[in-house]
């Protein structure tokens, strides 16, 4: 039943997106594709952090694994695209399992440190064998639009379709997973490990599984990003990317899939928008080029101050009082009287679990 509802919603969104790609110009299509790539990665990360309660500063590295896998498979084996995407996700999931086994033994800052190491070290591996990985230069990823779309079909529109399609599939799968037994067990283990273990859950296995699922998403995102930008290079997968993904998850609202969409929109659109504004106001290039970084920080600070539970949490909070006043919507807002959401949660961790109670994923 849940699956059907999610599928129906996904189909509606897909139709809207297809219409959008046709209406928008090529560059907006490209940005949509970029947003969709981030959505896949951030959604996987938000499930890991928000549900299973583990942190990862190494998701940029997982994206690199997916991206390089896809590039090498396309370059040397000429696999068809769906196979490449699936393989990239599987390969990254396998590496996620390895990291997950180590991660299951670590907590809090130690886990953050270990995954940070991954983010810092892995891109340098690409430099160790320049003949295979192309060194600093990276590898170019050449894909063509499928023949049935015709020769004049804009490539960016096709990329937007591909990435948005993958993002929707990922979101539907994750939403179902979150509502399944596995998702409930993750929440239980994330909220209180001891209680979960006493209830008969295998906490270690659950934690590894969360890493596998999350890494698979990051791998798929990396492969999609490689196809969208037509290049993979170590410079694209630095620690900055890992931090950006986590920022996106926190901005949107930890544990919320809708939040992953908001977070990704902020990650992609804010820097370009701010740069355009800076340029049109005649700011010098040296000031203008540093402003996007500052804007990013300002957005993070403002969102955290106004909406401690992220953009999605903030929207839900704003939406409820309005809904409560309109009689016809009252049914939708009934939980307001019992839910804790009216009182801002003091800690991010607590706010994450609050989402989980309400099933906002």
């Amino acid at each position: 039943m849940t699956l059907l509802r999610h599928l129906a919603a996904a189909i509606v969104v897909a139709l809207v997106l297809v219409l959008l790609t046709v209406r928008l110009d090529a560059f907006r299509d490209y940005q949509m594709a970029e947003v969709a790539c981030y959505v896949v990665a951030v959604a996987g990360l938000t499930a890991l952090v928000g549900l299973s309660g583990q942190i990862s500063l190494g998701h940029g590295a997982f994206m690199a694994i997916g991206a390089y896998s896809a590039a090498l498979l396309l370059l040397h084996l000429h696999w068809p695209l769906p196979a490449v995407l699936a393989a990239a996700a599987v390969i990254t999931a396998a590496s996620g399992a390895v990291v997950g086994v180590a991660a299951a033994r670590l907590r809090g800052p130690y886990l953050a440190g270990a995954t940070l190491l991954l983010a810092v070290a892995l891109p340098s591996l690409a430099l160790s064998d320049p003949s295979l990985f192309g060194g600093d230069q990276g590898l170019s990823v050449v894909t063509s639009t499928p023949a049935f779309l015709g020769p004049t079909f804009p490539p960016t529109r096709w990329q937007a379709w591909l990435t948005c399609g993958c993002a929707l599939i990922t979101l539907v799968l994750l939403a179902n997973l979150a509502r399944s037994r596995v998702g409930r067990s993750w929440r239980a283990a994330g909220d209180d490990e001891v209680a979960a273990a006493l209830a008969g859950l295998n906490v270690a296995r659950l934690r590894v599984l969360a890493f596998v699922v999350s890494a698979a998403c990051a791998g798929l995102a990396g492969a999609l990003l490689a196809i969208t930008t037509s290049i993979v290079s170590p410079g694209a997968f630095t620690i900055t990317l890992s931090v950006a993904l986590l920022t996106g998850a926190v901005l949107g609202g930890l544990g919320s899939l809708a939040g992953a969409v908001w977070g990704s929109l902020v990650l992609v659109l804010v820097p370009t928008y701010v740069m355009d504004v800076a340029a049109s106001h005649g700011l010098s290039s040296s000031a203008g080029s540093n402003i996007p970084v500052a804007a990013y920080g300002v957005v993070l600070v403002v969102v955290m101050l106004l909406f401690p539970d992220g953009i999605q949490g903030g929207l839900v909070r704003l939406y409820r009082p309005v809904a409560a006043r309109v009689p016809a919507w009252r049914g939708l807002a009934r939980r307001k009287t019992t839910g804790p959401a009216t009182a801002p949660a003091p800690q991010p961790r607590a706010s994450a679990s609050e989402h989980q109670e309400e099933g906002s994923i």
Binding site: R5, H6, A9, V12, V13, V16, L20, R23, L24, D25, A26, F27, R28, Y30, M32, E34, S124, L127, P130, G135, D136, Q137, G138, S140, V142, T156, R179, T229, S230, I231, S233, P234, G235, A236, T238, S256, L257, A258, V261, W262, L265, T272, M275, A279, S285, S286, G288, S289, N290, V293, Q312, L315, V316, Y319, L332, R335, E358, G359, S360, I361
Partner: protein, 443 residues
Amino acid sequence: MNRSHRAGLPATAAVAAIALALSACGSSGGSSSSSSSSALTASAPGITAKTITIGSHQPLTGVAAPGYDEIAPASNAYFDYVDAHGGIYGRKIVYKFLNDQYNPADTVSVVKQLVLQDNVYAIFDGLGTPTHLAVAPFLNSEKVPDVFVASGCECWNNPAQWPETFGWQLDYVREGKILGSYIKKHFAGQKIGYFYQDDEFGKDGVKGLDDEIPAADVVSRQSYDPTNINVGPQVAALKAAGAKVVVSFSVPAFSALLKLNSLKLGFSPTYVVSDVGADPITLAGLLEAYAKQGGAKVSGNALTQGIITDGYLPTLGDTGNSWIALFKKIHDQYIPKLPFDGNVLFGEAVAYTFVQAMLKAGRNPTREDLVKAIQSGLPQGPAVAPYAYSASVHSGMTGAYIGVIKNGTIVQEGPVLTTTTAPTSAITPYTGSAPAAPASGMP
């Protein structure tokens, strides 16, 4: 459990609404028309009756920014000068350069924005080898002129695959050969060490060096990765191998790191640094800044003293040169806050070449007209040796002189030398005379 689901739909609707609002900002390009009429028309994307819009990707922040971030503002200063003196057939130049932080992934993003959204006529002076390689295929498939890439990679000279792409500065293979022949002549039999950036930039340079320097003389070959500023191990290896001459194909930041790390190890070879990494003013500033970070105080000019390099534009110290006088005048008028250094000279000179090409392309040029204009050859302009442009050759300058840094400026030693990229081709002194700058400052 199900309310979140409903909360998701308004969210989706809001996304859609935002995206639709954004779509209203989209722009459309002009259609091409014949260039025979005298009225100014929107003859190509990015060209209107009043403006020519061109774009570029530049490292305005990040590891390659020191020094290189002056290039695009300097080009813009020359364009401002041209606009103030009648423009290109009356059109003003709008130069939009975006920051890619020297990261190929960002380059793709900003160049797509320039081409797909801002509808630029051409990409001009895109900076960097790894960065520009990421977008050259895209620019060529979109048939966007990709002119005067700010990189000496031999790869831009590939008209069969990339008909839209043109190099400008002396390519690194030619440069390596010219530096190599100097080393062979002046340091015969001495132990030579290489220090180079581990990409096409460094490798092309090494290719040229190896054409000239006997392999037996090269005792150590050390490469560095531009994202890792710890070059201590490489410098230690050069010292251990007993190199008396270190040839460096590096960006300015890494030329400075090489010098400082050598200083720390008490290693003092003769340095030969390729043009892009040897601008004395940039280098002195970096040396002083890095030393300060490390808690030491050094004199930048003292440390750059004696570095051997090469130049393909007139030396900055040659104040009697008409090109230096022209570019100094424009610098002082439009960008007085920037130092008048090699990067500024580079930016102004390449902008001059672009204006030359645009004037040649005609009153109402299409994108192909610009490509054809360059392929039919360009006058020498500020370069010290002629350009190689033709339908089958898309590389730019063909020669340079050897220079030595003395008291913070490069002093030319010997004649301008020209050569080709072929391994066996000879290096010959250039016998032609370099043209003087036009009095108007306009090509």
